[in-house]
Symmetry: C2
Subunit: 196 residues, 2 copies
C-alpha cells in the first residue's frame, strides 16, 4: 500500500466517483456548500492568489437564463440538477493580496500590476481551485457534473462582469438513474510520466 | 457533519496539509508515484482530454540543469527535495482522443483541429490534473511544494518540446524541519460565493 489515504476515501474521491449526468431531487443545502468551501479553500495556489469565484444558481429564474447559454447536450442536465454552480476566475484577484499574502504584501504591485499577467495567473490558479472544488463536492457525498460546453461570453455577460472569466459550470447533486457512462479509458503511467 | 469524507482524510488532504519548503532525505519511490498516478488519473477533464504530462527529475545531472532555471527563492528547495516533478500540458493531446473518448472519437477533428483551441484546453485541463496530482501526493502521505517561479521557456527548451508547455514544478517528499510557514489567510465564504 503506497497510499496512506483510507481506501474508502480513495473510492469516494476518485475511484468510484464519476461525472454525473442525472440527479435525484434531493436538494443541495447551503450548509453542504459552506462545508465544501471550508475544506477546499486550503488547497494551494501560486502566491495564495485564490482567484476562484463561485455563483450558485438557485432561483428558477436564474436557472432558466443559464440554460439558454448551455450547449444543447448540456441543457437537460443543467435544467434538472439540484444545484448549478458557475466557477469563474477573478482577474482582479491582486486587490486581495495585501491581505492574503502577509509575507509579501507588495506582490500586488510588484508582480501583478499588469492585467495580461493577472489573467494568465487567474485562469491557471482558478482551474486548480476548480479541481479542489470538484474533489470537495465528492467529499460531501455528492456527484459533480463539470461542463465546459456553454457560451462563455454569454454567461460572463449574464452572470459575471468584465473582470470575471467563466471557467466551467458544475451540476451538483446525488446521482440519479443511469447517472454515468462506463468509465472511459485513461492513459497508462508510461504514456504520461517520463524520468530523466 | 456536512461532509462524508472521513475527518482524518480531510486533514491529510486539505486541513493539515501545507506547501512544504524543506524535506527529509527519505526517497520518494517509483511505487509511490505509480500509486499516486493510478489514483488521480480518474479525476475528470473536459472530453477526457487528460493532457497532463509529467517529467520526474531523478538524476543528479538533470536536477542540476533544472535548478539553473528556477527563481532564486526556489533554487534551494528544488536542490534538496527528494523528488522533483515537472508538470506540463500536452498541446497535441487530441491525438489520443480516438482512444480516450470512445463515445465521440471524431472529437479529435471536429473540436480540436486548431492549435490555439488545443492550447487553451490543454492548459485548463492540465491545471485541473495538476491539482488532482497535488491531492494525490498528499494521499501518499507526502508533502507537495508546487512552484510557478521558474524560467518557463528555459524549462520547456531543456526538458520538453514545442508541443508541451510547462505548468508548474512540484517538490515532493516528507516534510523536513520548519517545513512551512503559518497558514496564510483564506477568503471568507461570502467573499467568494454569491447566490442568484
Amino acid at each position: 500500500m503506497s497510499l496512506v489515504l483510507d481506501p474508502a476515501a480513495q473510492d469516494l474521491l476518485f475511484r468510484e466517483a464519476h461525472t454525473a449526468r442525472t440527479f435525484t431531487d434531493e436538494p443541495v443545502t447551503e450548509e453542504q456548500i459552506r462545508a465544501i468551501y471550508d475544506l477546499v479553500k486550503f488547497g494551494p495556489t501560486a502566491f495564495n492568489q485564490t482567484p476562484l469565484r463561485v455563483v450558485l444558481v438557485r432561483s428558477a429564474e436564474a436557472r432558466e437564463r443559464l440554460v439558454e447559454h448551455m450547449s444543447d447536450s448540456n441543457k437537460d442536465k443543467t435544467s434538472t440538477a439540484p444545484l448549478v454552480a458557475i466557477l469563474a476566475a477573478d482577474n482582479e484577484f491582486h486587490e486581495e493580496l495585501p491581505h492574503l499574502l502577509p509575507t509579501f504584501p507588495a506582490a500586488k504591485d510588484v508582480l501583478f500590476a499588469e492585467r495580461p499577467v493577472r489573467e494568465r495567473d487567474a485562469g491557471m490558479n482558478a482551474a486548480l481551485q476548480a479541481a479542489y472544488f470538484i474533489v470537495g463536492v465528492r467529499a460531501a457525498g455528492l456527484a459533480a457534473g463539470p461542463m465546459s460546453g456553454f457560451d462563455h461570453a454569454g454567461v460572463q455577460k449574464e452572470f459575471l462582469d468584465g473582470d470575471h472569466t467563466p471557467l466551467m459550470i458544475v451540476n451538483i447533486g446525488k446521482p440519479g438513474e443511469d447517472a454515468w457512462r462506463p468509465r472511459a479509458p485513461r492513459l497508462a503511467f508510461d504514456d504520461v510520466v517520463t524520468t530523466v
